[in-house]
Amino acid sequence: MSTNFGPNPWHQTNWDFRAAFNFIFGGTGAGLLVVAAFSGVSGNALRAEMLLGMALIGAGLISVWFEIGRPLRAMNVGFNPFTSWMTRESFAAGLVFALGLAAAWFASQPLAQAAALAALVFAYCQGRILQAAKGIPAWRVPALIWLVFTTALAEGAGLFTAVAALFGAPASGHALGYFSLALIARALAWSIYRGGAAKATVRAALAVLDRAGKMLIQFGSIGPLALLLVGWFVPDFARIAVFLAGAGALATGWQFKFVLITRAAYNQGFALPHLPVRGTR
């Protein structure tokens, strides 16, 4: 850390769990739409997955709607697509809902895939929203964009496989392969982000990030990958293993984002590079 003079940074109080829920539910919903659209499910299963994904995104948006000071002006969120990632997120959400509802209505895979592309943009916007918050060192690390993005994919794939296991309709090999890749990508993204955060943020923020990151790696990456392997080699145990793997990926992603927004968001504080020179020297 710098040797500047100034009071220690303190935790921001502007965004609380309601904002965190937008990233938690929105990311998972977007990830679910992606895996559902490209996993080959069709008919009512596709409809159910699309509706669940949109419901999660909607829950996130409603949650953040409860946080804004002037909820009746919520439509003003769309006024600044030129520079605001929040506006762009809202546009992406609109596109997701339009295409997703059409896909659910017609049980159409091409429409679902179009909605999934919009969901990818939505998840990317969520990463950019946090990274553009210059006042919070733990958020403005560029690698956070990809951590938020990859955890959305991992959470969505986790939910997809867990739901499939729960209803006795095991996910395809392709879906499980994609889930594994998403877990690996998220672990890599965490590792890169942790390196950037170490240079940027304060010790207190790093301490809580490290605890959350440890969970993300142990119970959200290594554990689920091991369970998927167990399920692969021990078919009798496959259903419960895949369910636990999916639940683990989902829960650890959620806890990480909750911590990121509500525990690790220390502000910049103030820092003087020089002290005033008073009197004689």
Partner: protein, 220 residues
């Protein structure tokens, strides 16, 4: 082109908080909201301890992160560098507050007054438009504009100068046009060594801190 800026001479500030009080009076800000506040810092270890008082608030950045993130375009930057908030557009999402590296923005969800019930002065200054939206220092933009309309010079004529600058008992705070080489603030910047808060973030704050005079021969 005009670029309004503020200069704080840290060697002069005694931490009396008169600027804070005058800002609260001039702008009728509620309790716990201080558009102009003064940090009271203790630096070093006994016996080499120093106290430093640092006026802070909105830095009216050249490249304001709050403006870029604002989804409603409520936050804007005027050509003269003053960053403003349109209370009728703001949705109170607080995105600007987390984007600001200077903790300069406030949001008050419900009306509150220093002694519970509004005093006559608080009643007079109460503006419901400011509830549940982002607020911050405006550099007393109304005074500047009204003063300019009368042909006055902000930073020189008190009527056209921010309230905190007028109230400062030690002349720590100065206000003026940094684009004008003959202005009071340009002179101060030319004669002294200065820094801006968190300059490494690239926001280009319009608030300068004087910490020492320039070395002999360095001043032009």
């Amino acid at each position: 082109m005009t670029r309004w800026a503020m200069v704080a001479d840290l060697r002069r500030c005694v931490g009396c908080q008169t600027c804070t009080a005058s800002c609260k009076q001039a702008n009728s800000t509620p309790p716990d909201v201080q558009w102009r506040r003064v940090l009271d810092m203790e630096v070093g270890e006994y016996p080499a301890v120093k106290r430093v008082f640092v006026p802070v608030g909105c830095m009216h950045c050249e490249d304001p992160p709050c403006m870029h993130v604002c989804p409603s375009t409520a936050t804007k930057k005027r050509p003269d560098g003053i960053v403003t908030i349109d209370y009728d557009l703001c949705i109170g999402c607080s995105y600007c507050a987390v984007a600001c590296p200077y903790q300069a923005r406030y949001k008050t969800d419900r009306a509150s007054f220093a002694y519970g019930k509004a005093t006559p002065a608080e009643e007079q200054g109460y503006d419901p438009k400011r509830l549940a939206v982002a607020t911050k220092c405006t550099f007393c933009v109304d005074r500047i504009d009204a003063g300019l309309a009368k042909g006055l010079t902000p930073g020189i004529d008190p009527e056209a100068t921010p309230a905190c600058v007028n109230a400062c008992i030690t002349q720590t705070l100065s206000f003026g046009d940094v684009e004008d080489p003959h202005s009071n603030v340009s002179q101060l910047l030319a004669e002294n060594q200065t820094f801006r808060m968190h300059e490494e973030l690239g926001t280009g704050p319009g608030f300068y801190y004087i910490w020492d005079k320039k070395e002999e021969g360095a001043a032009k």
